[in-house]
């Protein structure tokens, strides 16, 4: 029997803007996958689920099983895959517009039911591919093509949303910290259950906040990650407006019964 070539690259031309934060995420993910394969997972057992948006082009750039579906629905699609074949490792790449606007209900319910999928949310805090409209995580006052006088809504805090939804693994990474992000992905993979990684990702074309992030982002140390109160303190350090410090790392971790295991028990498997 033939085996798969472990090269993760495809022939697809990359259409991301030069300097886009997505490159950092792609590199961190490739490094994580290399390690996951090195540790014994077969490449064919890995599935990438893309959404719609710049972020989701990642599926085209990876020589892995993949499905690009509908805008906002990648989390639900991934749940269907995992339920069908629970031996697969399912990674979802979704943007803030898809995850927190169009498809926010799926994110909440996937966390609540503890589906064993890994969601990597590229957070550039606006719709980029559609030329820069505000999203649920855009800061109040953001001037965009759809909010020319500044956004009048307060942003949602995705980490707080995930904590309230009982997500068992909540982390934040930064696209410029590739090694750190790779380790977050590996930790999410090891976690048995739903995992959510928000990746702060500057959009060089429409919301270039590289300097803002570089000055504020710090890595969390000595966090046992098990206390909801401690998690909430970390989450509250930044409300997606201005702040002096923005923590990255594993914010919260808790083991809960896994949805797919429970579902298979009902059919006696």
């Amino acid at each position: 029997m033939k085996t798969q070539n472990n090269n993760l690259n495809t022939q697809s031309p990359n259409t991301w803007c030069p300097g886009c934060g997505n490159f950092g995420i792609l590199n961190a993910f490739k490094q994580a996958i290399d390690e996951i394969i090195k540790n014994g997972t077969k490449k064919e057992q890995i599935v990438v689920v893309g959404d719609i948006g710049c972020n989701s082009k990642i599926a085209d750039y990876l020589n892995l099983n993949s499905i690009i579906g509908l805008h906002g629905r990648s989390v639900a699609t991934a749940e269907g895959i995992k339920l069908a074949k629970k031996g697969l490792k399912v990674f979802v790449f979704i943007g803030d517009g898809a995850g927190l606007d169009e498809g926010v209900s799926h994110l909440v319910h996937a966390a609540k039911r503890n589906s064993n999928i890994k969601v990597i949310l590229h957070n550039n805090r606006l719709f980029a591919l559609t030329t820069g409209q505000f999203t649920a995580v855009s800061p109040k006052g953001l001037k965009s093509v759809s909010t020319p006088f500044g956004a009048i809504e307060e942003p949602i805090n995705p980490l707080k949303l995930m904590l309230a939804s009982d997500a068992g693994f909540i982390a934040r990474g930064y696209s410029a910290k590739i090694e750190h992000l790779k380790n977050l992905i590996l930790s999410a993979d090891k976690h048995d259950g739903f995992a959510f990684i928000e990746v702060l990702q500057p959009c060089v074309s429409f919301f270039n906040n590289i300097q803002f992030y570089n000055e504020r982002i710090y890595e969390i140390e000595n966090n046992k990650n098990e206390s909801e109160i401690k998690a909430l303190e970390l989450i509250n350090e930044w409300d997606y407006a201005d702040a002096t410090k923005i923590p990255v790392g594993i914010i919260f971790k808790k083991q809960r019964p896994v949805f797919e295991e429970e579902a298979y028990k009902l059919i006696g498997k």
Binding site: Q45, V49, A59, G69, T77, E79, G80, A84, V108, I267
Partner: protein, 556 residues
């Protein structure tokens, strides 16, 4: 003219407030008649409420043909006063009224149901058992048959129920003797149960749904039978999630299906478009209820035909089939599941409330007719291309976990490997051509199946067209009037060849359906057929044979 033998037929209504168990009682009565060899249809009438209101089941037991709802009834079982008020006028002159004499003062066969239950320390709901037993005795059904069916159908408090039944049975006098007739063995089941069994026979692995009347009982069926069927049943946060999960499961290599009604189906339409573009099989049951919007949620209509034929944006073909009874629900749900996987495309069973929730006699022979048919799978030669260009448009399937294949599926237009393509016009056109070739194949397949049915006088120049639940009454009326009846079953791909043949030589074509705009008439006209008259009913009720016959007589 030789007088046609009129088949023996009985119609029974049992009615009461929601919570009094009239539905269960109706099913038990139907089983009594089924045991005597009769063909059954139960019409269920209830409202969108939990307690109170007025629910009734109308059982038709007929010697031959498709049983259907009748205007006049032979037996009325009244559990409360409302049942008398609403249904007494339907009772034939020689009909019999059975009633709970502790709640109602009337002439007829009074049964002191509440008192019997109280004396035997039963639960108030057991009053319906007292009425059933009274009817059984009244129509001369043996105690043995009644006991057998009660034991089969009452999982809880069997002995107490039986003592209530026995007491009532001993009091009532036999007023008429219903004859036993010979008939092939059949099982009673709702259209939705038959649909579930069809899906199971077609190899279903996972059923996804969000509750919506009148499709919910498919979810309930699968949820309650997970261990014995091995089929996983999942209720998700909304119909969009449901449809997306079904796509995910199908991509991963499992057979999935979803079920809903018009409103939920509307939410699934983007996913139907995805199924067509990504060539991931998608099987949906759309059980119509009266719309638009929330409409009349627990009553039927056939007003989603044109919508169901055209869900989702873009150019694509899909299978749409409308069954009219339990056997067709079984056969076509299984067949469509196989077809969806064979052609990697959406398939929709378009049923309606009175087929979904109606109870039918289903011949046991039908169960052998559906088996899981293996889909076209990749044999592992060369490099795997999910969207390989082939002559007939079908690209072999491989699933994640296959060590030799990288399986890339895409909602964007894509190249043969499944990688997004927005620039290369040749690739874009080639992919659309590939799918168009597949659609031609689907049309050819449709030509090989029994996608229409013809009843009545096959030589008649007058043709009655009916589909879905309307077939129940239309078939009988056509037979009575000696005209031809045509039932289109597959509605997409449209069976133009078969219908052209069925319509040839016709002088007058009349289309009957339960919607306000004549959607089947529109569909036939769009396909070039001349329809002379459209008979419509749109008060959320089925046509009765009496009414339809009267209306048709004026036209022919």
């Amino acid at each position: 003219m030789k007088k046609q033998k009129i088949p023996k037929e009985y119609s029974i209504i049992i009615g009461g407030a929601a919570g009094q168990g009239s539905r269960k009682a109706g099913l038990i009565i139907a089983k009594l008649f089924n045991k005597l060899g009769y063909q059954i249809y139960i019409y269920e009438d209830y409202q969108s409420l939990i307690r109170g209101g007025h629910n009734f089941s109308q059982i038709t037991a007929t010697e031959g043909g498709l049983a259907n709802k009748k205007e006049k009834i032979d037996f009325l079982l009244a559990m409360d006063k409302q049942a008398i008020e609403k249904h007494k006028s339907k009772l034939k002159k020689d009909g019999f009224l059975f009633f709970n004499s502790d709640k109602i003062e009337e002439k007829g066969i009074g049964i002191s149901a509440d008192k019997i239950v109280k004396e035997l320390n039963g639960l108030p709901v057991m009053a319906n058992i007292a009425l059933i037993a009274g009817l059984a005795k009244g129509i001369g059904i043996s105690w043995n048959i009644l006991e057998t069916i009660l034991r089969e159908d009452l999982p809880k408090e069997v002995e107490k129920n039986l003592s209530v039944a026995k007491k009532s049975y001993s009091i009532v006098e036999t007023v008429i003797k219903i004859e036993k007739i010979k008939h092939s063995e059949s099982e009673l089941m709702t259209g939705n149960e038959a649909t579930a069994l069809g899906l199971k026979a077609g190899g279903l692995d996972i059923y996804f749904a969000y509750p919506m009347t009148p499709a919910s009982s498919i979810l309930h069926y699968f949820a309650s039978k997970q261990k014995e069927t091995g089929i996983i049943a999942i209720q998700s946060e909304n119909e969009i999630a449901v449809a997306s999960e079904a796509i995910g499961a199908a991509y991963a290599g499992k057979r999935s299906a979803v079920g809903t009604s018009g409103g939920g189906f509307a939410l699934m339409t983007e996913t139907i478009s995805l199924s067509a573009q990504a060539e991931v099989p998608f099987m949906a049951i759309n059980s119509q209820r009266m719309g638009p919007a929330t409409g009349v949620p627990t009553y039927g209509a056939q007003s989603d035909l044109l919508f169901t034929l055209n869900p989702g944006h873009g150019d694509f073909e899909k299978f749409v089939v409308a069954p009219a009874n339990g056997e067709e629900s079984f056969y076509w749900s299984g067949k469509l599941l196989n077809l969806a996987w064979k052609y990697q495309t959406p398939a929709i069973l378009l049923t309606d409330k009175d087929v979904s929730e109606g109870t039918f006699s289903v011949s046991k022979n039908i169960f052998k007719k559906i088996k899981k048919e293996k889909e076209l799978v990749w044999l592992g030669k060369g490099e795997y291309k999910r969207y390989e260009i082939t002559k007939n448009g079908l690209s072999p399937l491989a699933y994640p976990g296959n060590s030799e294949a990288v399986v890339k599926v895409n909602s964007y237009e894509h190249n043969q490997f499944g990688i997004s393509e927005e620039v290369d016009k040749q690739v874009i056109k080639a992919m659309q051509d590939k799918r168009l070739a597949k659609f031609e194949l689907m049309k050819k397949e449709a030509d090989t199946l029994d996608v229409i049915k013809i009843f009545g006088n096959k030589n008649s120049k007058t043709i009655l067209v009916a589909w879905g639940s309307t077939v129940l009454a239309a078939k009988e009326v056509a037979e009575r009037l000696g005209i031809k009846m045509v039932q289109p079953i597959m509605l997409s791909p449209f069976p133009k060849k078969q219908i052209t043949k069925a319509f040839s030589g016709a002088k007058k074509i009349i289309c009957v359906e339960t919607n306000a705009t004549g959607q089947m008439t529109q569909l036939l006209r769009a396909n070039g057929f001349k329809i002379d008259k459209s008979i419509l009913r749109y008060d959320a009720q089925l046509f009765s044979t009496e009414e339809l016959q009267a209306k048709l007589k004026k036209e022919i």
